[in-house]
Symmetry: C2
Subunit: 118 residues, 2 copies
């Protein structure tokens, strides 16, 4: 289960469809494991076939990307930080982030789309 949060600079750019994201953009990614909710599925039983409801289980980590087009020029302007249980992770995984984000190159390497307000 994943949710992304943006600071004011990030949200303004998202809403305006502005690319690339300006320096100062911070996006946080919250990651959880998910579990089947038997309680929820009892409520939904008969409405849908099969197990339908998965909910947040245990926490995995939180990751931040920070845009600084000078400081992080080598990785598209994005610096990455990772925390697990509130403790900062090593630099090792950050070096592997950029390669996997190449498919989102035309969106400034950001996979997450802006979720329309319900």
């Amino acid at each position: 289960m994943r949710a992304q949060l943006g600071n004011d600079i990030a949200m303004k750019a998202y809403r305006e469809g502005k690319l690339p994201f300006p320096d100062g953009t911070i996006i946080a990614a919250l990651h959880w494991n998910y579990v089947l909710s038997e309680e929820n599925n009892k409520v939904l039983a008969g409405q849908f076939p099969g197990a339908q409801s998965f909910v947040v289980g245990s926490a995995v980590n939180v990751q931040f990307v920070v845009k600084d087009s000078i400081k992080y020029a080598a990785t598209g302007g994005w610096g990455v930080a990772e925390f697990t249980d509130g403790k900062p992770g090593s630099e090792a995984p950050h070096k592997t982030c950029f390669a996997c984000h190449q498919p989102a190159k035309d969106r400034d390497f950001v996979f997450a789309h802006y979720a329309p307000t319900p």
Copy 2:
């Protein structure tokens, strides 16, 4: 896809495990349809079998519950409001909410658990 947001009173009660939720509690439920993300799955290909990544698609609605143990005594103290595209819905669906929430009676009729911070 569903996410729940709570006001300060709701979040304080959640974090302290305090039940029932005090008067003034407001919980918002954001509902979206979900779609398969082919782009994300390309990144994940080889790491996991099958389609893995579903992302927020179009918005469905937003619902609010408001706790007022006097005003809404007949429905466990919870009043319900629903908005679609920013427009308030009719009162009809609100009358059917309470019945389905009975399985969560021991949690003051609230299904959503507090998500641990990653």
